[in-house]
Symmetry: C2
Subunit: 369 residues, 2 copies
Amino acid sequence: MPLSEVDTPALLIDLDAFERNLTRMADLVRAAGVRLRAHAKTHKSPDIARKQLALGAVGVCCQKVSEAEVMVAGGIGDVLVSNEVAGPRKLERLAALARQARLLVCTDDLTNIDALAAAAARFAVRLEVLVEIDVGGNRCGVLPGAAAVDLARAIAARPGLRFAGLQAYHGRAQHIRGHGERKAEIDKAIAATRATVAALNAVGLACDIVGGAGTGSFEMEAASGVYNELQAGSYVFMDADYARVLAADGAPISTFEHALFVRAGVMSRPAEGRVVLDAGLKALAFDSGMPAVHGLAGVSYGRPSDEHGVLDMAGANAPLGLGDTVLLIPGHCDPTVNLHDWFVGVRGLGRAEAFVECVWPVSARGALF
Amino acid sequence: MPLSEVDTPALLIDLDAFERNLTRMADLVRAAGVRLRAHAKTHKSPDIARKQLALGAVGVCCQKVSEAEVMVAGGIGDVLVSNEVAGPRKLERLAALARQARLLVCTDDLTNIDALAAAAARFAVRLEVLVEIDVGGNRCGVLPGAAAVDLARAIAARPGLRFAGLQAYHGRAQHIRGHGERKAEIDKAIAATRATVAALNAVGLACDIVGGAGTGSFEMEAASGVYNELQAGSYVFMDADYARVLAADGAPISTFEHALFVRAGVMSRPAEGRVVLDAGLKALAFDSGMPAVHGLAGVSYGRPSDEHGVLDMAGANAPLGLGDTVLLIPGHCDPTVNLHDWFVGVRGLGRAEAFVECVWPVSARGALF
């Protein structure tokens, strides 16, 4: 099926760029001597997760039990819920899932450890538990050091639980633009993590997993000598926001390529210099800013409403007509993917003979629980 | 099933408030002597649309053909796609749907009128077409007056098409905070619409439908003597943004009640004054600002990420523990609904004996085409 027959708006994967991104990350982590546990919250797709595992990833991360359920059902045998799980229903689903696959989860609270142990006992499984430490994100996680040791001891003391290591992810730092500022934040995270690992070792607790890192910083954690499992996810697609993050040479990070696009169509051209697209709040996420317009110099997207976006054509080289299409690079890939039911995998995107090679469901779309 | 058994995050309807909203709007439009064609983009649910029709609404509006397909499949017999439809696939689906129900659509372009006529001919149906005029939104729509008359004549001249009137919706004005400024914008829209109706009448073209208006302004259009079909949608649920729109007395508009909530759960309480909820970018839309925290003075929601939101508890009267729940009023109801698969209808929300009375699918969730 030629790309021209795909109706708009549609979520496209440039399969050529996507495959290069997968291979490049696999090469980088192999060279660094660390493991990749790719974050599946980016793609929400067991089809893509299986490709990551085939290239050497040891498993995936998820943020919700319902995402983990989709991954296990899709054949992924090693899943870390890189997040706290609270409430009896979710804990029981987590424990039930541990009968089918290796299941790991994070905690930052003593009462939560008791609840995890109760769920593990009820389902006669062993849950592997990471202690999440707050390395600068100010979101979840206990303070590094003694507080983490206390929780690790509590985990190790519970039958049905196994202390598996540390979760030390600094999400906010991933998007810091300047390389120097980003490195300073990550260096602090590395130091706090190193000290916590040492404090655990001092009481006889080993960390099989020291996990964290994202697409904006993973080379720093990889070189730290402390982190051994990287949790990058966005590298498979990249997005407009990551294109604003700078490398050491001051240029945008170019390790990975844009591989995710929303193809939108022109539905109205009511006035000079104004073109209205059929993709707005329901087709793109805007938490990290406007989408970039791919390959059309002088054209910018703005003023999204539910089903519309307005292109400012003031600087355009050529007009757009009704039914013409444009490729938009989402501001933030993860929540954009969550708005769509399908990925349309395109071979040769940008060439006249581009065609649809595959369609993958966004299997964990809407997995909130 | 008691509300306490509903896992988080979940999209709740307060059925008592919701039913009062439906009845109140039905009473207001009846008293004003105008019709209600409720906008289904708010709820995306034929279950709710049928309740609106049962209370007197003449039909519904949709923004996409795929939404219209869901409404017709759900038993709604009179649907206006209050938007332009471009591209051969969408036009053919629109024409095919006109075999099953009364179908109306908007246009603002002569080549689009030719395409509508071709689709109507191919499916041997008659499509009713409104000319959209730009009454201040600067989005779609031709200028009021002569440009609209030209399009109306073109519609009337095409076999298979019927000129049905004007679409004159001023979306941006709905959310203008001050009553005076809002009224000034709507008065301009009313004047432009009145002049266009007169210009059409002068060439022998009658407007069966003069449609527009939303929840923020509908009483103004209802009293205009020109608009005869109101397209309000958000009134069924209301949202945090509409609560910031002021009535003539300077107080927030109180015609309708908040009836839509995201119930979120506490998943982490890692530091003094900070509580982390399990509802973020995947559970709530943020294009119109943060959600309001219902019934908890001194507590505010902020810093959303995909699966987290942080409550600032600095001014709270009481702590929240792991697994406790809070009710969030979404900033913008329409795109929030689009993130969920189900509405959980609750009777007696806010009382200890609150229970789940019904579960309705968000049938047109993700309807982008």
